[in-house]
Symmetry: C2
Subunit: 199 residues, 2 copies
């Protein structure tokens, strides 16, 4: 089946865009490159994404969504107590970022550039992640196992305090063997602060 006989979906365009970005880098990748990779005219691409900026935003959102969707399962898993869920969620965020950075460094660097461009997409992503964390803290407060006067503020603090373990500016640190112990030390300290006093 030649590429042109398949239906041109937004998802196919985004897959091709990611591949073009990986190959050419964020500075050089163009809509014409994407169209060529798909064997279609650039007009066909523009019917799905009205501007190059819209296409870049959409591919960035897709990349970020992969992380938040993977984490949503942990946030919603009522089989684990809230403290375990918090710890597992923050570890999984670190693992996801480290895997992306280590597995395909060019693509990771490319997306780090794109993330710097797309203000709204990144804000929405951070809001989604913080909302997941807030949900876990609220579940812990409801169950009486965690103490937090303002679960959203606490979620923000948890997210900010673990920046070293998910922010791309620390990607260079993630290969150091000590890094996992450093994450555990931060988690231990924060979770001690969150645990409700035993009555």
């Amino acid at each position: 089946m030649s590429p042109t006989t398949e239906t041109l979906t937004a998802e196919r365009i985004l897959e091709a865009t990611e591949e073009v970005l990986r190959r050419h880098g964020p500075a050089k990748a163009t809509v014409v490159d994407v169209a060529r990779a798909l064997g279609v005219s650039h007009g066909s691409v523009y019917r799905h994404f009205r501007t190059k900026a819209a296409l870049r935003e959409a591919v960035t959102k897709r990349w970020l969504d992969r992380t938040s969707e993977a984490l949503a399962g942990i946030a919603a898993d009522e089989g684990r107590d809230p403290e375990t869920r918090l710890r597992d969620w923050l570890r999984a965020l670190f693992e996801a970022k480290r895997r992306k950075a280590g597995h395909d460094p060019e693509l990771f660097a490319t997306y780090s550039v794109l993330v710097g461009e797309s203000g709204t997409v990144v804000e929405e992503h951070l809001a989604e992640l913080t909302a997941q964390l807030t949900g876990i803290v609220e579940a812990g407060v409801a169950a009486g196992s965690l103490a937090a006067a303002d679960p959203a503020a606490t979620a923000g603090a948890l997210f900010h305090a673990t920046g070293r373990f998910h922010d791309p500016c620390y990607a260079g640190e993630w290969k150091r063997p000590e890094i996992e112990g450093e994450l555990e030390a931060v988690l231990d300290l924060m979770l001690r602060g969150l645990r409700a006093p035993v009555r």
Copy 2:
């Protein structure tokens, strides 16, 4: 008094180097520029600093020492209880970095480049800061007000968890009005985790 009649001290060379770095940027600044600014031969500069790399390391160390010396006073201040000292120390670190970044952004950017070059100098600086924090945690454990099985590991966790408020890669965030509240939320969470249970 003309520049050449003053004794050429290491400190005068470092002052001139900082000024040359501010003016030319880290990529272009040379030892010849420094010598010219002082009205001496470059041989005179090399008598104090044997290589350009040694001069750059020394000026970076001087820049970093300004921060650690200011903080040492808080770490050693037994007039404040250890929890207050921890909080004040971490706030002062943030304020010092924010002031440097906001007051003279070119020089801050220059030093961020130099810090990336000087492995040992930066490691020693981080070790010095963590040692100060460890001392405060130990004082709290000795007084019975803080609980920490391993004060050095706890100090590391405190330092890592506050990276958002002292690491230059976050300098862009430090102008946001929310940033102070974000620091307080992280400090509240961590200090709750450190407080010894009331017996």
